[in-house]
Amino acid sequence: MEDEAFTDINGKAISLDCQSHSGLCREFTVSSPKVSVGKVMVYTCCVWLLAYTVFFFTENTAVLSSAILITLLGMMLHIHFVKVDHESLLVIGSLGIQVSSSYASGRETTKFIEMSKIKDIVINEAIYMHQIIYYLCVLLKDPSEPDAVSSVVPLFQSSKPRLNCLVKVYKSCQEILSKC
């Protein structure tokens, strides 16, 4: 349970929280900063100003109401589908790995991968937008031939931590994996 100053690939501050429930079970939670009020304000203002300009030319109040609707709807959709509040990785030795990400609206999506399916956890490089980043991912076994990788499950996808953070998680994951 310690906090260093970690940042994501764009230099925004994120916090990593390692909970060790027992020797076999650890939980890592990467939580990205909350939705900044200022940003919301800015977006809202932009939309509304636009709406007012339109309204100014076309005396039509529908424009304004629609603008309000749009902002509200947009905000809801954003916090429900886009904005991820924190992502957590629960590693249970000899049982499996559970990846869950919870959105700002409280919606939570969870995926549990059994240990028998997992081949390894590695740090990997990928080209993302206009940069090349490191990311942590779980390699899944191919049931047909054991030493091939059937697919890859990337971790901490929405909050993209930097290498130092990843290495921390990676090391302790490897500890548990090596135990059993």
Partner: protein, 604 residues
């Protein structure tokens, strides 16, 4: 190795007794299914376990002992250990729970070959570990102890949900050799699901043994279900008999003559009919559904069929109330007339200089007259059959009692018939246009002194003779100048055609939707989310120091999207079979487009 114990939540507060369950081979994890309380006679327990095993086909066994000491009864340690000798097992679990605490502690007694009991302490409190030859050497105590503490994981699960839930992706019956051994969770789920008979012994009947496990809600519901099952059998038989007759009628030779078959393949009503027949056949098969998918499929079909019929009934009730039918009929003929008139005007407009376009007058006149004649024919045809339309509608309306889909497809057929003239126009226009386009393209190649090489599939340069060039150029010029006229006609009629096709497409889509939407599965997902499990998720229960790790296993329900695309009953899809770009290209080069789906693109 780490020992995983799947422990049913309902047994948390059970009084002390024996743990009945199963060791999952290969994963060294134990699934506790029930607790048999004191007092019991070991013989009866053994016998009971035997018969349960026989019933459920799970290798049940007595896993160990469960002690939740009430006040007064302390120090059962030795007694419990003796129990292990009564029920000879490879390993013997002793799970304690003190009243105050939430966590359990567990001892594992390993029995090696010569029957001596080897014990490993897993209590944190017990600082010293009495160790004979366990799998860990006795020399390095501390680190040994560290390891020992980690040994056991308790996974609490809700027995009922796990029993009823179906793990996805489904692998029914025989696990294919590639993926075996089936994963731990899958085995665990199977174990709980198959050991259903174990749970039918409930607390109140006075058997020799008292046990704690999930209690099935009272018998009555199940009795009713049984009765329904019994009743459904003769019904199924009846339906299947009727079906056989129907199919026999369908297979009379007259229907399999060429024009009829072709027609029936094009008429969406007939397609719908055969489709329904097929569904009924699947429904009315007397034998019970094998496997989950089969069952779901049947249920989906049944539900959607019922819904369909209900909607159809609604429609009928609307139609036959203060005769809407007559109204419809009276509106229909004038509508057709109106359409014809509109077309007439349109053609007149085209025969002038439409939108100031420069068209070749002679050709324009010819085409216009031709189409006008067609419309004339059409109108007379409509008027010929106007008296019968009401009757047709009346009987057609009856068909709605076979379901809304049926009525809809009938409607689409009617539309197709009523707009036949538009179709004709479209075909003429398209053919003419197509001809022109191809002629122009090949002549353009000649114009540039190239030619299409059929063998190499490419454009070669070639030297033509003078006369070839001359005639080619003449034709090219003629075609080029006549193109706008035909193109305009083609355009107009294609637009009309597209409107019709769009309408029919919408009808087909809705029909397909009603037929294929998995209502039952979705309902299940809404009201019993745990029934369709995508997987599981674990929560770490608040653990206090000194006990092993406690996890709560919850069921992770399937996503709606997955449910829909997994359980949607396969139909002939009537979605446009080629992409929009392809469609546009077809339109441009003047190939014909049809609303009806082709048999070849049946989507599974």
């Amino acid at each position: 190795m780490v020992l995983k114990i799947f422990f049913p939540q309902c047994c948390n507060r059970a009084d002390s007794g024996l743990l009945v369950g199963r060791w999952i081979s290969g994963h060294d994890s134990a699934v506790v299914l029930a607790v048999i309380h004191y007092p019991f006679i070991p013989g009866q327990v053994k016998q009971y376990v035997q018969q349960m095993q026989a019933k459920s086909g799970v290798e049940l066994s007595v896993l160990g002992s469960w002690s939740l000491p009430k006040e007064g009864q302390e120090g059962m340690e030795s007694f419990l250990r003796d129990l292990s000798t009564i029920f000879p097992q490879q390993r013997w679990l002793q799970i304690h729970r003190e009243i105050g605490k939430t966590g359990f502690t567990c001892e594992v007694l390993n029995r090696d070959q010569n029957g001596r009991v080897v014990q490993q302490e897993t209590k944190k409190k017990s600082k010293k570990v009495e160790e004979e030859d366990g799998e860990a050497g006795g020399d390095k105590e501390e680190q040994e102890e560290e390891e020992e503490e980690e040994k056991v994981i308790f996974v609490h699960y809700e027995q009922r949900k796990v029993m009823l839930s179906q793990l996805h992706p489904i692998q029914n019956g025989v696990p294919d050799p590639k993926t075996d051994p089936p994963s731990e969770l899958r085995q665990m789920f199977q174990t709980v699901a198959t050991s259903q008979p174990l749970f039918f012994m409930d607390r109140y009947d006075d058997g020799p043994l008292k046990s704690t496990h999930w209690q099935s809600e009272g018998r009555e519901a199940s009795i009713i279900v049984e009765l329904l099952k019994q009743a459904s059998v003769p019904l199924c038989l009846l339906i299947s008999w009727l079906l056989s007759i129907w199919t026999w009628i369908c297979n009379i030779r007259i229907f399999s003559l060429y024009p009829l078959r072709w027609l029936s393949s094009k008429l969406s009503t007939c397609v719908q009919l055969s489709y329904k027949t097929e569904h009924m056949r699947t429904l009315s098969s007397a034998k019970p559904a094998a496997g989950h998918t089969q069952f779901m499929r049947k249920a989906n079909i049944l539900v959607s069929f019922l819904v369909d019929v209900a909607l159809g009934m609604l429609l009928i009730s609307w139609l036959y109330r203060d005769n809407h039918i007559a109204m419809l009929a009276n509106t229909l003929v004038p509508a057709a007339d109106h359409v014809a008139k509109e077309l007439d005007e349109l053609l007149q407009w085209l025969m002038g200089a439409p939108a100031g376009l420069k068209m070749n007058r002679a050709l324009d006149q010819v085409l216009g007259r031709f189409f006008l004649y067609h419309i004339h024919l059409w109108i007379s045809y409509i008027h010929l059959m106007s008296p019968f339309i009401e009757g047709i509608l009346w009987y057609g309306g009856l068909s709605a009692c076979l379901g809304l889909t049926f009525a809809l497809s009938l409607l689409s057929d009617m539309v197709a018939l009523l707009t036949f003239h538009i179709y004709c126009f479209y075909v003429y226009g398209a053919r003419l246009y197509c001809l022109k386009i191809y002629g122009l393209s090949s002549l353009w190649r000649l114009f540039r002194g190239k030619k299409w090489n059929v063998l190499r599939q490419r454009v070669d340069s070639c030297s033509y003779d003078l006369d070839q060039l001359f005639i080619g150029t003449l034709l090219f010029t003629v075609l080029l100048f006549l193109l706008p006229t035909t193109a305009l006609y083609y355009l107009v009629f294609t637009l009309l055609r597209l409107v019709v096709v769009l309408f029919q497409g919408v009808l087909h889509l809705s029909v397909d939707f009603i037929n294929s939407f998995p209502l039952f599965a979705v309902g299940l997902r809404i009201f019993r989310p745990y029934r369709l499990a995508e997987g599981v998720k674990f929560r770490v229960l608040c653990e206090e120091p000194g006990t092993a790790l406690h996890l709560l296993m919850e069921i992770n329900p399937l996503k709606f999207s997955t449910v829909v695309q997994m359980y949607r009953t396969p139909t002939y899809s009537c979605y446009p079979k080629d992409s929009w770009a392809a469609l546009v290209k077809k339109l441009f080069v003047g190939e014909l487009i049809y609303p009806w789906r082709h048999k070849t693109i049946k989507t599974e």
